[in-house]
Amino acid sequence: MHPVATDGPIITVEDAGISFSTGKRHRSAREFLFTGSRGQQVRQFWALRDVSFEVDAGETIGVVGANGQGKSTLLKLIAGVLLPDRGRVDVRGGVAPLIEITGGFVGDLSVRENIRLTAGLHGMTRAEIDARFDEIVDFAEIEDFLDAPYKHLSSGMKVRVAFAVVSRLEEPILLVDEVLAVGDAAFRKKCYARIEEMTRGGTTLFVVSHNEADLRRFCGRGIYLAKGGLVFDGPMEEALERYGSDSGLLR
């Protein structure tokens, strides 16, 4: 495990906000030149607004809320792949993000090369990769395909390789965004066991999921987001109740 400062929270989110424009995604030069799209009102939509909380090392947190309420955006802010427009998000220590996990893989390269590259991109040193390579291959059950191009793997296999690599990063913080839904039952069981092993070892866990059973199993603390704001922050069970009753009302 990489060294972490032991005093103070490991994640600090303070008045964090991020806005997206809801207009057309890509401004074309034609519009820009001829219709002067600069003058057009670009509507802003705050995916997250005034969100504040702190997380101590070793906490396990589940994020709940309906679709489009800012859950994944929050995870991306913590992963550092989005930057807040307001406030700040401080993360002390490395993050192993199980977000878009197959994104970094290159179809034309072999599985072996991909494992090394992705592990390196997420900050593993060469020596660490050497030491953990066999473990990763075992976990993904991919021995027979090591020299095949990554693109020839089935989609289930791809996710297995990706999960195996990211879950072996040994970072103090693990982010999980819905990936538990993929893979067959046997592999899912392995993933669960691996995540539990990590949280027992002191890893701070952040999970976004719609599966209440998963959330109850892994998370002690729940964060409930609605319309980009933090509605509730407390025990997981209560967060689920609040979310349940709110969405019950809506129906």
Partner: protein, 246 residues
């Protein structure tokens, strides 16, 4: 991290091809052969200095690097959007690593220049020690252009096409197939503003010491540094917006 990405680029480039790494030498060699055929066998022209093929390649190989790096860095964030979206590294790395990997390909193509220099018995001058300076200047310029274009292309996709056209024009306003001596007096001031003019004069100095023009090199150095600073500032300013768009 940086090295890892450069190696990845080179691996991806040659993945699945039968000859693999050989292409990094073979490609410029075949290109040189075509230019040799066109400019010394077919066309009887009076441009540049003799031996013309050496004169041409001394600037054409760095131009190939320049052309490839600008094209690729402009699309850097767009093409690798999945990677950018899933890994938290200094975002500048996505651009800079392409300048480096294309630069390595340029270095791999130098034996081709050496081969023609030997065949045509071109004399090597002390100005060969200026090559690293030219290399560093070109890296600086490319890093600046890349950092400037990569985020802009994400926001205004049409720019990618514009870049390709501009590069085509840029090739003809840069002393590559001709030398600085061929530029009419009246236009010399305009050509001096092209940062590549000074940089390429350094490359050519190896075999044609008279080409090195320190005034031009000075202009290139100042411009390259300015472009780098502008590129860096633009990149930092647009980073937030770009991350939302990809």
């Amino acid at each position: 991290m940086f090295r890892l990405l450069v190696v990845r680029d080179l691996k991806v480039r040659y993945a699945g091809s039968a000859l693999g790494w050989l292409w990094s030498v073979l490609d410029p060699l075949l290109m040189a052969a075509v230019y040799w055929f066109v400019f010394t066998v077919v066309l009887d022209q009076s441009l540049g200095l003799s031996p013309y093929i050496v004169f041409l390649l001394a600037a054409l190989l760095p131009w190939t690097w320049f052309n490839g790096a600008v094209t690729d860095t402009a699309r850097a964030l767009r093409v690798d959007e999945k990677l950018v979206r899933s890994t938290n590294v200094h975002r500048e790395v996505w651009v800079l690593r392409l300048v480096a990997s294309k630069g390595i390909e340029y270095l791999c193509s130098l034996p081709v220049l050496a081969l023609f220099a030997v065949l045509y018995q071109a004399e090597l001058h002390w100005q060969v020690v200026l090559l690293p300076l030219a290399f560093v200047l070109q890296c600086t310029l490319l890093a600046g252009i890349g950092l400037l274009l990569a985020p802009l292309v994400v926001l205004v996709r049409d720019l990618e096409r514009v870049v390709r056209i501009v590069l085509r024009l840029w090739f003809y306003v840069t002393p590559v197939i001709y030398g600085s001596v061929d530029i009419p007096e009246a236009y010399q001031a305009v050509f001096a503003l092209n940062p590549l003019t000074g940089i390429f004069s350094l490359y050519r100095g190896t075999f044609f010491p008279g080409e090195v023009d320190w005034a031009l090199v000075g202009i290139s150095a100042v411009e390259s540094l300015a472009v780098l600073l502008i590129g860096w500032a633009v990149f930092a300013r647009l980073e937030r917006t770009v991350l939302k768009e990809i």
